[in-house]
Symmetry: C2
Subunit: 244 residues, 2 copies
C-alpha cells in the first residue's frame, strides 16, 4: 500500500508520501511516490501517487515525456492548476484504457493522485484526482487530502489541523499522521518524502527524504508517544458509579 497526504493552508502547502510498495508481503520495494515539477519563480507542481505502480509510473512518465519532447499541452504550457489537474486526469484515463477497455478489469489498474501547486499570479490549488480521471479540490473547510492507507492517520488531522494553522505546526501534524500510520500498518514504510511550499514563493523545493534514523522524525515520534501515554494517565478517572 501507500500513504500520501497533502495540506493546502493559508500560508502554504505540505506534501508527504511514503515509499513502500508491495506485491504481497514478500515483495516489498522502495519507490518514490512524490514528484516535483516546476520553473523557479513561475510555477511549482507536486504530484503524489497511490495505486498500481505500473499505472502511476506511466502517468508520471507521460507527463515527463511531454515536457522532454515539447508536446503540448504539458505541465509547463498550461495556464492554470485546474488545467494541469485535467491533463493529469486525462493522462491517467488514457494509461488505463491502453491496458484494457474492459471497465471492470480496468479497476485492477486504478491509481489515485494528488496534484498541488501554484502558478504565478494565481492562488495555490490542491486536487484529488480519482482513478476515473475526475477530481475535487481542497478548500478552507477541507484543507487536506489523503490517498492510500489513509484511515490510521486521519484522526490527528481531523482533530488538530485547520486552514489557519502555522506551517511549522501543520508540518508536525502531518508527520505525526505518518508516524501513526507507520506504526499501525506495515504496508506503509519509511523513508518518507516530505516537501514544504511557502505561499507565493514560487520556489521549487528539493524536499527532504526522511530515513529511519532521521533524528528529528524519531525525536518527535518518541515525544508524541510519551505525550499520549502521559495524556491517558492524566485524563480523569470515571467515578465509581460510572459502571455497574
Amino acid at each position: 500500500m501507500t500513504y500520501c497526504c497533502a495540506l493546502r493552508l493559508k500560508d502554504g502547502m505540505v506534501f508527504i508520501s511514503d515509499t513502500r510498495t508491495n506485491a504481497g508481503v514478500d515483495h516489498i520495494s522502495v519507490f518514490r511516490k512524490l514528484y516535483t515539477f516546476g520553473i523557479e519563480g513561475e510555477r511549482m507542481i507536486v504530484i503524489q501517487t497511490s495505486g498500481n505502480l505500473a499505472t502511476t509510473q506511466a502517468v508520471i512518465g507521460h507527463l515527463q515525456n511531454q515536457l522532454e519532447t515539447k508536446q503540448e499541452p504539458n505541465l509547463y504550457s498550461l495556464n492554470t492548476m485546474f488545467e494541469i489537474a485535467e491533463l493529469v486526469g486525462h493522462t491517467l484515463r488514457k494509461v488505463i484504457a491502453d491496458v484494457t477497455s474492459d471497465t471492470v478489469e480496468q479497476s485492477n489498474y486504478y491509481c489515485s493522485l494528488l496534484v498541488g501547486g501554484q502558478i504565478k499570479g494565481a492562488v495555490m490549488q490542491l486536487y484529488n484526482v480519482y482513478p476515473q480521471g475526475n477530481f475535487i479540490s481542497a478548500t478552507s473547510d477541507t484543507p487536506f487530502f489523503q490517498i492510500g492507507e489513509s484511515k490510521y492517520g486521519k484522526p490527528i488531522l481531523d482533530r488538530a489541523l485547520h486552514y489557519d494553522m502555522p506551517m511549522d505546526e501543520a508540518l508536525r501534524c502531518a508527520l505525526i499522521s505518518f508516524d501513526s500510520t507507520l506504526r499501525s500498518n506495515v504496508s506503509v514504510g519509511l523513508p518518507l518524502d516530505a516537501l514544504v511550499y511557502h505561499k507565493d514563493s514560487l520556489h521549487v523545493p528539493i524536499g527532504k527524504r526522511i530515513y529511519e534514523e532521521d533524528p528529528y522524525f524519531s525525536n518527535i515520534s518518541k515525544q508524541w508517544s510519551a505525550l499520549l501515554k502521559r495524556g491517558l494517565q492524566e485524563l480523569p478517572v470515571p467515578t465509581i458509579d460510572y459502571f455497574e
Copy 2:
C-alpha cells in the same frame, strides 16, 4: 459499519461497541452489538458483533434459543471458553450456510465476532471469530482485538496499550480509540455500549450505555483534543536547514 474493541489484560477485560448500523447513508439505525451472558459467580461471557445484521442477530438468536430451550451444547453447559468460541463459530457457519451454499455468495452474509469471558477455575479468554467460523485468541503480546471499522482507533491502542496497564487507564485508552473513530467516520456512531470485567470477579456486569451527552465521555473527548493540539505546538520545530 461498526466498531467493536475488546481488551484482555492482566487485571481484567474491557469491551466497547458502537451501535450504528447503516444500509447506505440514508438508512441509519441503532442496534446493540454487545451481548452479555453469564451465571453470577460461575461464568461471564461477552459477544460483540460486526457485519451483516441479519447474520449477527441470527447467531445471537440461536445462542439465546439454545439456552431458553435447554438444547445442548449451549453457552452455559460448555466447560471452557475455547468450547464456547467453537460453538459460536459453528453457529455462525450454520447461519450463513442456511442462507446460501454458494461460497462466493456467502461473503455477502459475513460477520465477525469477538467472544470473551471467564469460567470459574480458568483464566480469562478473548477470541476473534472469523466469518468462516475459525478463530484466534488474544495473548499478552497482542492483548486486544478490533472488528469493523478498526483503523482509525488502532494507533492509540498500538502506541499506548499494554497487557499490564491498570484497568482504569486501559478503559480510557479504549474510549479514546472510540472517540477518534467517531470523529473520523460517520458510519460509527453513539451511543456506545461499554463493559468492564475485573479478573476472577465472575460478576456479570450490566455495563454502561454512553450517549452523546454523557458528561464523562464528552469531558475526556474534549480534554484529549486539547492535549493533542497543545502537544503538536510543543513538539520541537525542525531546524532551519531540515528542509531545502
